[in-house]
């Protein structure tokens, strides 16, 4: 054996040994259900390996066209070979928590949830402590110190209308135009849907109220209902197709999906931010089920959704890309935070993101938008209690 070869083999031996030292204890001892970061697995590569081995991820109440989740699901499947089982896509936060409680020890139990901030307190005990790699980029206000939940994204209220509506609405205050009779709707009951609740806040802000004073919003809804402009249907694609409404307030990140659905029935929908109110919601929270049937896949999903990388979507991944080692492939794909942006949502780490994709062009951003306001959870609770009594009387 030549001296050179000896050195190489010795070096290889050392590398192998150190790798083994680093990897073996981790893979042998790590319990994915209690892993509190990628480091608990011995790095992202091992987390990905463990997730691949599980091969599936149970999502709940996560529609493909909500905040562009479909793109993230496709990346998960194509890049990491993880099959997505999507249960009850149109479910609510309360149903997500109920599902964790009632499906104990079942294979179909949700691995991760996406819930409204209002339901965090109720579910906190059910969630696992796990800190994603981008943990420090998540603002303190929107994460629990132990890491059992953190906000993922939020949105603001946009104004959408059928292109046939004249004059085209540009502000909330201008919705009292008699030409809009029987046309205006919001996303359901504000004491049941956060989207509707924040819409009432937006109307309040536009009519001289504030996050602390929702009354002007209630008064304006009363006026719009009395004049037949406000139609109390849930402003979804089906109701739109039946002609039940032509103007609505909605999360900006659901605008792209709505425009696409309207297109399938030959309608053109235009969306913009109302020029008299820019109101954001408290973030939607992502959390891992403590007893997730696919604990590693659940943790990989969180890593993906909080990755700030700007990269490839599933359709753009080549065979060569897919052959890359796990962590390299992870760096190559589009991170969830950018997936949210391309769906029109505002990701939680937006302040720290250095490489952002552009938001969807469908949403018209008027110049001179007012300062964005965000009602706190406490303010939302106060408003909900007022609305419980006031809404049935509008």
């Amino acid at each position: 054996m030549s001296k050179k070869l000896k050195v190489v083999s010795a070096a290889a031996g050392i590398v192998l040994a150190t790798t083994a030292l680093a990897v073996l204890p981790a893979t042998a001892a790590v319990n994915a259900s209690t892993a509190s970061s990628a480091a608990s697995f011995g790095g992202l590569d091992n987390l990905i390996k463990a997730a691949k081995k599980e091969g599936a991820l149970n999502l709940i109440a996560t529609p493909r066209d909500w905040a562009n989740y479909g793109d993230a699901m496709d990346i998960m499947t194509k890049a990491f070979g993880i099959k997505i089982n999507s249960d009850n896509p149109d479910g609510s936060s309360a149903q997500e928590i109920a599902a964790i409680r009632t499906t104990k020890n079942m294979d179909k139990m949700p691995d991760v949830v996406d819930i409204g901030l209002s339901h965090v307190a109720e579910g906190a005990g059910l969630f696992a402590n796990y800190r994603v790699q981008t943990w420090n980029s998540i603002p303190k206000a929107w994460k629990s110190p132990v890491g059992n939940w953190y906000g993922g994204y939020t949105g603001s209220i946009a104004l959408c209308y059928d292109s046939s509506v004249t004059p085209a609405p540009t502000s909330i205050a201008g919705l009292d135009n008699p030409a809009y009779k029987g046309m205006f709707a919001i996303q359901g009951d504000p004491t049941a849907a956060q989207q509707a609740l924040i819409s009432v806040f937006a109307v309040a802000v536009a009519k001289g109220g504030s996050v602390k004073n929702i009354q002007p919003g209630i008064d304006f809804f009363h006026k719009l209902k009395a004049s037949g402009i406000f139609v109390p249907v849930t402003a979804n694609a089906t109701a739109f197709a039946s002609g039940s409404f032509k103007i609505d307030l909605t999360w900006d990140y659901n605008v792209t999906g709505f425009i696409a659905q309207a297109k399938t029935i030959g309608k053109t929908v235009k969306c913009t931010y109302p020029k008299d109110a820019l109101v954001a919601g408290t973030p939607y929270v992502l959390a891992i089920n403590k007893t997730a049937p696919h604990p590693a896949a659940a943790r990989l999903w969180e890593e993906l959704m909080f990755s700030m990388k700007n990269g490839k979507l599933a359709a753009d991944l080549t065979a060569a890309d897919l052959a890359l080692p796990g962590s390299q492939l992870f760096s190559l794909v589009m991170g969830g935070q950018n997936v949210y942006i391309s769906g029109g949502a505002s990701p939680i780490t937006v302040a720290s993101m250095t490489d952002k994709v552009s938001p969807p062009t469908a949403l018209i951003v008027p110049t001179g938008l007012p300062q964005s306001v965000l009602p706190s959870l406490a303010q939302q609770t106060v408003a909900t209690n007022i609305l419980k009594t006031a809404w049935p009387k509008i």
């Binding site: 409204g116 009951d189 004491t191 849907a193 249907v233 849930t234």
Partner: protein, 302 residues
């Protein structure tokens, strides 16, 4: 037990003890095919009801309390009793009267048309939920087909105070399934009224009014009332249609319960929702008791 059976086959004595017992055993045996039904009722009715009753008396930290029930009768929750019961009474009354009239008209026609009506009614009676709401929105909404057609004919149904999205709108929509349900269930009772009775009444000197008041009404009243109460329960518990058409602008009990136990906004109030559900069960029990009392009374009178 097997001994008893052997005894029976050995010495069958009609009318005495062992056979009596065997009869009872036989009737027990005849219940066996019903076991799936009992299992169904136990799992989908008794089991959830037990949990709701228990939860209604618990606070969020699992302690026994009456607080949930106290809240049930306050504010919007208390008001919802009035709104729900009132809407259900009106809807049941309209459905029962209109349905009974249609049913008596149909019974007088031939068998073939009766069959056709029965088939249609059973389809319509089962139309509900969100599809029904959208049917009416597409037809009678502000941009609906019927609305537009009537407008073209010179009648703007939205010219006055009419709106589909109010209690009266909901009652109109509910009539779509309430009337056919009445026709469906009430017709068989009508068919039992024999023409001979009319002849007997006539020959005893009765006129149309006495026949109606002293024969038809006492005979058919229990059937009419029981169907009307079924219609009441039907609209009292309806959820999806009203939810799709009101978005909470009409405080109906099932919708409020839905918001308490479900949704993205109100958290940690499931127990109040369960207490409300128990109250709904209570209303149903009261209604059933009234029905049983009336039934008893009408039997005594006969």
């Amino acid at each position: 037990m097997s001994q008893t059976i052997t005894k029976r086959t050995d010495a069958p004595k009609p009318g005495v003890g062992p056979l009596h017992f065997a009869n009872r055993l036989g009737s027990l045996k005849s219940l066996i095919p019903l076991l799936p039904f009992f299992a169904f009722i136990a799992y989908f009715l008794v089991f959830p009801l037990t949990f709701i009753f228990r939860d209604a008396f618990l606070s969020n930290d699992g302690k026994f309390t009456f607080e949930n029930f106290a809240q049930c009768f306050q504010g919007v929750y208390g008001h919802s009793f009035y709104v729900s019961i009132r809407l259900s009474i009106i809807s049941a009354a309209i459905g029962a009267v209109a349905g009974a009239l249609i049913a008596s008209a149909i019974v007088k026609t031939g068998t073939r048309s009766r069959r056709a009506v029965a088939a249609t009614a059973s389809v319509l009676a089962n139309t509900g939920g969100v599809p029904l709401a959208f049917m009416f929105l597409a037809g009678f909404g502000t941009e609906g087909l019927v609305t537009k057609a009537l407008k073209a004919l010179g009648w703007n149904i939205y010219g006055g105070s009419f709106t589909l999205f109010s209690a009266s709108g909901i009652i109109l929509v509910y009539s779509f399934f309430q009337i056919p349900l009445m026709v469906l269930i009430y017709s068989p009772a009508l068919e039992n009224v024999k023409p001979e009775w009319r002849e007997a009444s006539d020959s005893l000197g009765g006129n149309r009014l006495t026949y109606f008041l002293r024969i038809t009404v006492p005979l058919l009243f229990p059937a009419f009332l029981s169907t009307a109460l079924l219609l009441f329960a039907n609209s009292f518990s309806a959820y999806a249609t009203a939810r799709a058409m009101t978005s909470g602008t009409l405080p109906l009990m099932p919708l409020l319960i839905g918001n308490l136990v479900d949704g993205n906004v109100i958290a940690n109030q499931e127990h109040l929702g369960h207490a409300m559900a128990v109250c709904m069960v209570g209303v149903s029990i009261i209604v059933m008791s009234i029905y049983l009392l009336v039934l008893k009374f009408s039997k005594v009178k006969r």
